[in-house]
């Protein structure tokens, strides 16, 4: 299948160039494919995330006031190197005059090690730094091995909004961690992906098959089974989420249907209707619905669904104003004090 690229080895930088040209309020930091806001000074805790490329709009799409302050992009499906992350931490630490940096890290070996080593070095240098690990994928039984997938996007939003409120680092981390504990995700692929310059797909899947329990790096999932209708797929997905979140019934929830990159919007909304029906059927109230490509795997076809149990604070944080390009505007009837705080960049401390 034809790809749009010139040299496979420079795709990440070529993309980053396009990003800063298309979105002039974003900048590339130094020699790395790190996208940041241009806001300086920064009167709040800074939020940094990132990971491999190939998940667009993650992660640069979440860079903007009220969400991430920088996103470090590695090579496709490869976590960014330690020095790249450390550079971003240094820039933000200078900009916010040691107010603290929170790293939102997905639970993959490479991400955990590279972000972890950067955090340790920064800590030893005296930078106030904290790490929150996202492990929302429930297709893996051992929680310590669970992958961080689309739920990470919700953590970016919640952490970013907390920072705008003027919360100190420890509180931003605490709230972000609470969100991770109350979310679950599960994904199904209907076709694999093709890496830039690769000769074939990342794995073989017949037209009448689907892959259960997928991650976001084009690898096989937990099982290959015959393709089902959307309704049955959604029952399977919802059952997995419900098992993880027993208090789902009669809760207010955020329901996210995330396209893996190669699935038409038409199909994603159809899937949303199915899962919405199942959630409502057990007494849950879908207070916030999100549909779209949030955490993709290049051109993989399929979807993942995330449910986040809401409380008043989490819902407010999700609805707070922000300037990231790829997250929707969920503001509605915000108190004027909150709008003023946003304009300022944070609430008076």
């Amino acid at each position: 299948m034809g790809q749009l690229l010139n040299d496979p080895s420079s795709v990440v930088f070529d993309m980053a160039t396009g990003v800063t040209l298309a979105h002039p309020h974003l900048q590339q930091l130094g020699e790395y494919a790190t996208i940041a806001t241009t806001e300086s000074p920064l009167e709040r805790v800074a939020i940094v995330s990132g990971g491999g490329s190939g998940h667009e709009p993650a992660h640069w799409g979440y860079v903007g006031k009220g969400m991430l302050d920088a996103a470090c992009a590695g090579q496709v499906f490869t976590s960014p190197p330690v020095e790249q992350i450390l550079d971003a931490i240094h820039v933000l630490d200078r900009r916010n005059d040691h107010a603290g940096v929170l790293l939102v890290v997905k639970n993959f070996a490479g991400d955990v090690m590279n972000f972890g080593m950067a955090a340790e070095t920064a800590r030893n240098e005296g930078v106030p730094i904290a790490v929150v690990t996202v492990n929302d994928d429930v297709s893996i039984s051992d929680p310590s091995s669970r992958r961080g997938v689309a739920g990470a996007v919700l953590v970016h939003k919640i952490a970013g909004a907390m920072a705008i409120r003027g919360a100190p680092l420890v509180e931003v981390k605490r709230t972000a961690t609470r969100a991770v504990r109350n979310m679950a995700s599960y994904g199904i692929a209907t076709s694999p992906c093709v890496l830039p310059g690769a000769k074939g797909p990342s794995f073989e899947l017949a037209d009448d098959e689907m892959e259960l329990g997928i991650g976001i790096h084009g690898e096989r999932g937990t099982a290959t089974v015959p393709l089902q209708r959307a309704g049955q797929m959604c029952e399977l997905v919802f059952a997995a989420l419900r098992e993880q979140l027993p208090s789902l019934r009669s809760s207010r929830i955020l329901l996210l249907v995330n396209g893996m990159g190669g699935t038409p919007s038409l199909e994603l909304y159809l899937v949303f209707a199915e899962i919405h029906r199942l959630a409502s059927g057990v007494g849950a109230t879908v207070a916030i619905g999100l549909v779209g490509n949030f955490m993709t795997s290049l051109n993989m076809a399929g979807f993942s669904s995330t449910i986040l149990l809401l409380d008043d604070e989490l819902e407010e944080l999700l609805r707070a104003e922000h300037h990231a390009t790829a997250f929707p505007d969920l503001t509605r009837q915000q108190p004027s004090s909150q709008r003023a705080a946003f304009r300022q960049g944070c609430r008076d401390r």
């Binding site: 491999g52 490869t78 096989r220």
Partner: protein, 218 residues
Amino acid sequence: MRPTDWVHVIDEFVEGLSLQATYLDGLDAAIGDGEHGATMLRSFRAVQEALHDTPNDLESEALVLGAIGATLSRCAGGAAGALYSSFFGAMAKTASASSSDEKPGSRFMSMLGEGVGALQRLGKAQPGDKTMLDTLAPALEAARIAEREGRTLREILSIAVLAGENGMAGTREMEAKKGRASYLGARSVGHQDPGATSAFLLLQAMKKGLAGAIGTSV
């Protein structure tokens, strides 16, 4: 061992990775995302370039090994980048701490031991998890025994390569407990681990680079 021996190790490693890149990608495609060969080649080509760009800075083994680790920290990324930068960083520290009177065999042993120890602490893998450790731990163990027997560096390296090869082959029937292959669970069985395979290529490169030089006093 001379600082330039380690430059040769990297040259040999890059050559081995270059020859085996497609094979490594194929191993990775079965249980991962199919880019291990490309990633390793890109990372270590960057190391090779860095070493050849600054030949005058490489006055000691510790400096060369430190430069390898630092380049990986800047350029590699991924789990492999983090692990190998830690591995070479630990070897660099050991090299600078050890005395130049030490016999090459015992010096190599301390360095490899610290390198593998650093890998284990960072990656938290155990033998049998189906990782690079399943090549390097048996190699280290066999090399230790050989060194205690008073063997030369050349012999120690040959023995390490053989043990590493067995370890690598042994990963085929293991179920992955760490890394991307671990998400596949039982489906990872029957496929040799790509990380264990590239680690074996490193052992081969060490043998060629450290014991292949004419005039090496072993």
